[in-house]
């Protein structure tokens, strides 16, 4: 298989404009003849569904939540980047492009990233026009703040609820189209199979979560915007419902899965407090603008109250190691630095797995009311979860799985190697390379949905001789049968373990063997243990209830089954990538504790092709070339 990214020729800065001109168009009057399925209603899915419907396509949109307003995009706190340079502090499309390529440790496509930076400015305009209440200055213009990994203030925000407000903007645009009858919305409906006919994606099979009824839906294109796979680690900042099922099942139908080993560990989460925990909670990265990260210089001081440790006995390790970025070092760097000091025995709090994020200086400099205005809701959230008042004592934070840069492989048009299957947002692998910068996830999701797919999908339609497929096609029957068989099998095991307990075991295994640090040894061990655990699942899981009604246990078990296969792929990818880059840290490949890339052998995307149960997947590569940004060791010192 040859992976052709279809990157337009011509100078980088003109590729997208030229490509938009070169792409074929669907006549306005003909758009209503095309049906599009959008799976997922987060930022990428909702913005795509709304925009496609506005253009005149017939859209069906599916989500497993009870309303499209609940997708986990809603939980993004910090903000959204855009190269507006409203602050006159040196930003530009080129700088956002450069920062993103560098931040991704030179493992993203230049052309995609440049387009993302270009489109970023339109996103802000669009969201403001929708009524998103971004933070304003007193003069009425938009406020910005800085964010991890950037030396300019380019992040637009709405208090600590930017994701919520952007999602509601997209949800409202989608709702408008639903109200107009241009989008048919299917909430509480889960995609369980992708249907491929003659190599083209032509529909999906879904389960109505209320009554268990399985139905088929045919279309001229299928768009997956189903988020990331962070919950393969069980504990992550993702919502409980986040899962890999839609993308993994598409993978099993032939879509290649790119760079699954690129996972992002976010440095500012509330540390784990016990075995009962169902998820981890992120504290917005924006806290690092004013909070200072430290641990005691000496192990002996770790048990003391932080106030009793004088400044001279504290190690502000980010400021020390990365003076020019300080507490705003990128996520992967900050996370590893926290792990390092904890590994040295200098961690604080339960299990010594925590570092301080201290606002004492900020309160002295800015006063408590100002700190409260900036971060009050985050301090409140911290107190609700930990019972501690962060105005009086430092927060404790620790890294946690947060985002996954890997995803289904897509070309420049966001189309997977299966024609007609488009993948957007966190579900694809495209723009962040091996590490994502703060406030860039919202940007990418909305770029894909509002400003990229609406152009590229038309090109696909206009370029193909369309054959109209209906749900009577045998492939739909086959897919429906696959679904039923899987359900029957899950209900039939009647074993002695809950799906949760197996998922928790998988997560612990993944975190320990393939988390912040990975080695040949740990990965090899994981690749032995995962199949065994999968075996345990299929022989000993207990799934209660029946198919014909709301059955959350059944839904969940199906997702865990996919994680148990996908986790193996992730570890295999990590084992094969014999270098360190961004969020992928192989202990064998480091230089003074920092990532050591191997550009000679690994400047490429690894995209895995499914070969059938029990067979090793095939690794394909798409070489990455860097014409604009000089390949260099990524330094934030």
């Amino acid at each position: 298989m040859k992976l052709d990214a279809h990157i337009p020729s011509g100078p980088l800065t003109q590729k997208w404009d030229q490509h938009r001109f070169d792409m074929k168009l669907v006549n306005p009057a003909n758009k209503r003849k095309f049906d599009v399925i959008v799976v997922g209603a987060g930022l990428a899915g909702a913005s795509a569904a709304a925009s496609l419907a506005e253009l005149g396509y017939n859209v069906k949109c599916f989500c497993f939540q009870d309303s499209p307003r609940r997708a986990h995009s809603i939980a993004a706190q910090g903000g959204i980047n855009a190269a507006k340079n409203y602050k006159n502090d040196g930003d530009s499309v080129h700088r956002l492009f450069y920062d993103t390529v560098k931040g991704g440790d030179f493992r993203a496509r230049e052309a995609n990233v440049h387009r993302l930076a270009q489109v970023s400015v339109s996103i802000i305009d669009q969201c403001v026009a929708q009524g998103v209440p971004f933070a304003r200055e007193y003069g009425g213009l938009l406020d910005n703040r800085s964010f991890g990994g950037a030396q300019v203030s380019r992040t637009f925000y709405a208090r600590g609820q930017t994701g919520q407000q952007l999602l509601l903007g997209a949800y409202q645009a989608l709702s408008r189209q639903i109200g107009l009858g241009r989008v048919e919305m299917y909430p509480r409906t889960e995609m369980l199979e992708l249907v491929v006919v003659d190599g083209h994606a032509k529909g999906i099979v879904v389960r109505d979560l209320i009554n268990g009824v399985v139905t088929s839906h045919a279309a001229d294109a299928v768009v997956l915007a189903t988020g990331g796979y962070g919950n393969v680690f069980f504990l992550s900042t993702n919502a409980k419902g986040c899962n890999v099922t839609a993308t993994y099942r598409a993978h099993k139908m032939g879509a290649t899965f790119a760079n699954p080993c690129y996972t992002q560990i976010h440095p500012t989460c509330i540390p784990v407090s016990g075995d009962h925990q169902s998820k981890l909670t992120l504290m917005s990265e924006s806290l690092r603008n004013d909070g200072r990260v430290w641990v005691p210089k000496r192990k002996e001081d770790c048990g003391k109250t932080p106030a009793s440790i004088p400044d001279s006995d504290r190690d502000y390790y980010l400021e020390r190691k990365y003076p020019s970025f300080g507490n705003l070092a990128p996520r992967d760097i900050a996370s590893r630095a926290a792990k390092e000091v904890c590994d040295e025995g200098r961690g604080v709090g339960p299990g010594s797995l925590g570092v301080y994020l201290d606002f004492a200086d900020a309160i002295a400099r800015l006063t408590e009311p100002v700190v409260r205005e900036r971060y009050g809701n985050l301090f409140d959230m911290y107190e609700r979860i930990t019972g501690e008042n962060a105005y009086q004592q430092p927060m404790r934070i620790y890294p946690a799985v947060h985002y996954t840069m890997g995803g289904l492989w897509v070309d420049y048009n966001l189309m997977s190697n299966l024609p007609g299957l488009f993948v957007l947002g966190e579900a694809n692998f495209s723009d962040h390379g091996a590490n994502r910068l703060g406030a860039s996830a919202l940007m990418q999701g909305l770029a894909d949905g509002y400003f990229i797919l609406p152009y590229t999908i038309g090109h696909y339609f206009a370029s193909q001789k369309q054959t109209r497929i209906t749900t009577d096609h045998p492939e739909f029957k086959k897919a429906q049968e696959t679904v039923s068989a899987r359900t029957r099998r899950l209900l039939a095991v009647k074993g002695k373990r809950t799906a949760t307990s197996i998922h928790r075991e998988l997560g612990k295994l993944m975190w320990e063997h393939c988390g912040m640090a990975r080695s040949k040894e740990s990965l090899t061990a994981a690749l032995q243990k995962i199949p065994a655990l999968r075996e345990e699942f299929w022989s000993n899981v207990r799934v209660t209830g029946e198919n014909g009604s709301l059955n959350q246990d059944l839904e969940y078990a199906g997702r865990v089954a996919d994680f148990l296969e996908f986790g193996e792929l992730l570890c295999l990818d990590a084992l094969t990538r014999e270098e360190s880059c961004g969020g992928h840290f192989r202990v064998e490949h480091q230089e003074a504790g920092e990532c050591k890339r191997d550009d000679a052998h690994f400047s490429h995307v690894a995209a895995w092709e499914y070969q059938g149960e029990g067979k090793s997947p095939t690794r394909h590569i798409e070489p990455l070339t860097f014409d604009e940004v000089h390949l260099a060791t990524r330094s934030y010192k």
Binding site: S67, A71, A75, R136, R159, K240, V543
Partner: protein
């Protein structure tokens, strides 16, 4: 800590339903309320009993999925706290806790603690948006918005659509929910253009869905996890009145 749970169980919309009692042992006070339910459910599964169905997703108080009436109060009655962010340290050892679903005519029951809140979506579909399509919009800084207006709009826009306001209201009114969206958009210049049409259509849909009337008791404000203020209802009434005056109908 040890607790007694009295939990509403109902097989489906047609079932009549009733309370079931569960004793829970060795609850860690750092658990969230939903994590405590997870533990109960794991116990049920191992005993071959269907677990208690309840909605939840983000578990950090923002998605609006969770919807439990705890000890008679929507979300359990702690200031600005959804059920998923309520921690067990707020309860006493040995306490008996009742857990019920939202109950309102416009929110039909689905199963156990799960109800159907799609009426809220239909109200938004009726007018809870600015009618701009993607593309062709002015520069974001072209229209200044006073910080105070933007801040107020944000106060209203924070609504997570959980429906606690409806659950808490003796009339099962959706006024606070509708008021939050109407106010958010009416407070900003972008949304002012179609404010009248919006207010009329959303109120009409609210009535169609079967929500009750507002008698301004303030019980909605009291349970709102995002502290949406009652004065937005006053603003909605002004907006609606203004719209009636200008457009008639209603």
């Amino acid at each position: 800590m040890n607790l007694t749970l009295k939990i509403w169980r109902q097989k489906d919309a047609k079932d009549i339903g009733g309370f079931e009692t569960h004793e829970v042992r060795e609850v860690n006070p750092d658990m969230s309320f939903l994590e405590m339910l997870d533990v109960v459910n794991e116990g049920l599964i191992l005993r071959g009993i269907e677990p208690i169905a309840f909605d939840s997703d983000c578990r950090e108080g923002i998605c609006g999925a969770c919807s439990l009436v705890i000890n008679g109060t929507a979300h359990g009655g702690h200031k600005a706290t959804t059920a998923c962010q309520l921690h067990m340290r707020k309860f006493s050892d040995g306490e008996t806790i009742t857990v019920e679903p939202w109950r309102a005519r416009a929110f039909p029951m689905v199963k156990d603690l799960v109800c159907d809140r799609s009426a809220f979506d239909r109200i938004i579909q009726a007018g809870g948006f600015v009618s701009v399509s993607t593309g062709g919009v002015p520069d974001a800084n072209a229209i200044p918005v006073a910080k105070e207006d933007s801040d107020q709009a944000m106060d209203a826009a924070q609504c997570i659509g959980c429906g606690a306001c409806v659950a808490a209201c003796k009339n099962a009114s959706a006024m606070l929910f509708v008021a939050a969206k109407v106010s958010h958009l009416a407070l900003m210049p972008q949304g002012k253009v179609e404010r009248e049409r919006r207010a009329l259509n959303m109120v009409a849909q609210m009535d169609t869905e079967g929500f009750g009337a507002c008698s301004v008791t303030g019980s909605c404000e009291a349970v709102c996890p995002k502290e949406i203020r009652l004065d937005f209802i006053a603003r909605l009434n002004r907006e609606y009145g203004r719209a009636l005056l200008h457009r008639g109908g209603g």
